[in-house]
Subunit: 358 residues, 2 copies
């Protein structure tokens, strides 16, 4: 059974807050963290907020051996009046449970999890940076802690929420980046774990990312694992193309992550009455559109970068320059509107913003 | 640079050794473990043997978030004269480095790693059970310890060797098991991480295993991730079929793990002049062979079970009974010969056995 109250132990030696000018992504953590345990007998128990510190884990903990783990990523901002706000957090906790299901991890009460997060943020609100492009990145995650080498779901888990003040995920910021289409390595297979935010999907991509970086590209574009024909994602982002006035994004399948930003982009485009379609799209179609002068814009979407314009796409030795390497109109409008709604600088007609406190 | 000597700290309170009759797989660990650190600046440093104990790890350690980890599995036995022996350990350290490469983890000196293992075994030799079917399971593994949420290879790693006295991996022992062909979930994709022993491949299979178990099957047979047509592996084992006098095993590709037992089976069959072929084989071919009365034997191969006969194969609602659910002749001979060579009960004409001490 879940407990509604959280045991809070406050840190006795507060850290110095980092310079907002030189913030990196995910390198600095705040004074406190939230943790909760799962045992097969008692369910999720012992919700606690306590000083951020290393944890003691058995070397046989199953997470080290079979990577039974899931995570989420969202951001907290301060709005103009200094209130702490979250962008669609309920979507992240819903997805956490979808990931849990795929990884055979017991579900977590979404309402309570959000409540715990709010309590943690209440305590840590001074850590939320306010400079342009900065935010407090929130990383909820679950790991299998049972010490056992059996290839089977664990009986014990630990759920954490840690917080990290971040600058821009991509130092390039809103400047268009160069992308390489990956034709050998696969991010996620049909019947695999691609719709789950689970660690294995990410380290599996390091070889491809290294190849792309060594050839001067910022990120990889992933094709489907079956035919290596259909566009799936870009790096750790969903991807959109504007072709001849219509915005197209790969339709969800069992290897594409259901991004919260992706969903918001689609809703915004509908709101603006800009044609937007979710369907299968091959790399060949993107290439042909480019050749015909109809590939107007391309961008990735994700919590970290929000919107990341694509300036250049390399596929089979051919390089397509998108919109003269400038950020397109729709891309720019999406970035501005989303970041303004997220930081409370613009009205939120969609009910996307959750206030943590007032 | 690697150090050749190991700092040894002996445990002050030795644990009671478990009853060899009731040993499970991977639940009990010995008194000591081996650890070594990697830093970007210094390489692999600080080889240590010390009491087995929980380790302190930062909640932001990259292994928890992006599953950058690899592992190995091999066994130590005592031969008739009480000497500690290993089965082809150099193959495991070679594979560890292949896995490291796929996961962007820096390589480990294979010679030194084997040396460290021998020193650990020397200290822990009283933990090696000697009852039929028992052994000391050895689990070398590497985890990314750097605290960072960046989706990129870590700069800090920890290498461990832990030891666990084990009974039979499959409580069913050498009795034939029932296998279900999995037609939805994929273990490993083309261009994925299937040839690496990395955690993500294992937790990705839990959903399929749960489905198989709920339908009364012991393990899953994995088909290829592209066409869902070709046989790849069975559970965490390689797989062999004897059809009309010929033993066939799926040829290695980039989604099949290169099993040490698989390699040894092939070499033994060659030695016995039993026809053995590595090639693509579809599930349809296995089915047709069964229908024609030519599917004579089927078995899995892996360190844990050594050889695991398949008594029954269920595919698309059809169940094939193999060899009247009895262990076949070749299957039995392979099991007996391999386990006898491993435990020094039979001469080793192949040079597979490495003595740890005398
Ligand atoms: C693989 C992958 N695709 C897409 C996304 C975008 O999802 P979201 O918009 O919810 O951040 C993420 C997460 O950032 C991801 O890890
Ligand atoms: C997926 C998988 N296939 C096959 C095997 C068999 O390999 P080995 O014979 O080296 O134990 C293993 C390891 O046990 C494995 O994890």
């Amino acid at each position: 059974m879940m407990e509604a109250t959280v045991a809070i132990t406050k840190s006795q030696n507060k850290k110095t807050k980092p310079d907002p000018e030189t913030l990196q992504f995910g390198k600095t953590f705040t004074d406190h963290m939230f943790t909760m345990e799962y045992t097969h007998e008692k369910g999720w128990i012992q919700p606690e907020i306590k000083p951020y510190a290393p944890v003691e884990i058995d070397p046989a903990a199953m997470v080290f051996h079979y990577s039974q783990s899931v995570f989420e990523g969202l951001k907290a901002y301060k709005d103009a009046s200094g209130d702490v706000v979250l962008f669609r957090p309920e979507e992240n906790f819903k997805r956490l449970n979808r990931s849990n299901k795929r990884l055979s991890i017991p579900p977590i009460n979404e309402q309570l999890a959000l409540d715990y997060l709010k309590q943690l943020l209440e305590l840590e609100k001074d850590w939320i940076p306010t400079a342009e492009g900065t935010s407090l990145y929130i990383r909820p995650f679950v790991i299998a802690t049972e010490p056992s080498l059996q290839v089977a779901p664990a009986h014990h888990y630990k759920f954490f929420i840690i917080l990290s003040p971040v600058g821009s995920y991509y130092p390039e910021g809103i400047h268009p980046v160069s992308i390489m289409v990956e034709d050998h390595f696969t991010r996620a297979a049909r019947g695999g774990t691609g719709t789950a935010k689970t660690g294995g999907n990410y380290s599996a991509g390091y070889n491809a990312q290294a190849k792309a970086s060594s050839e001067g590209h910022a990120q990889v574009l992933w094709l489907d694992g079956v035919e290596k024909k259909y566009v799936e994602e870009v790096g750790s982002m969903n991807v959109f193309f504007k072709i001849d006035g219509e915005v197209i994004t790969p339709e969800l399948n069992d290897s594409i992550l259901q991004g919260v930003t992706r969903k918001s982009v689609i809703e915004l485009l509908h709101h603006w009455e800009i044609p937007v379609t979710e369907r299968k799209i091959t790399m060949q179609e993107v290439f042909d559109a480019h050749k015909a002068g109809k590939l107007e814009e391309a961008f990735g979407s994700g919590t970290a970068a929000v919107i990341s314009p694509i300036g250049e796409l390399t596929w089979n030795e051919e390089t397509m320059i998108v919109n003269g390497r400038d950020t397109g109109e729709v891309t720019k409008a999406l970035y501005q509107t989303l970041t303004r709604i997220q930081t409370g600088k613009q009205e939120d007609p969609f009910g996307w913003i959750t206030k943590v406190s007032s």
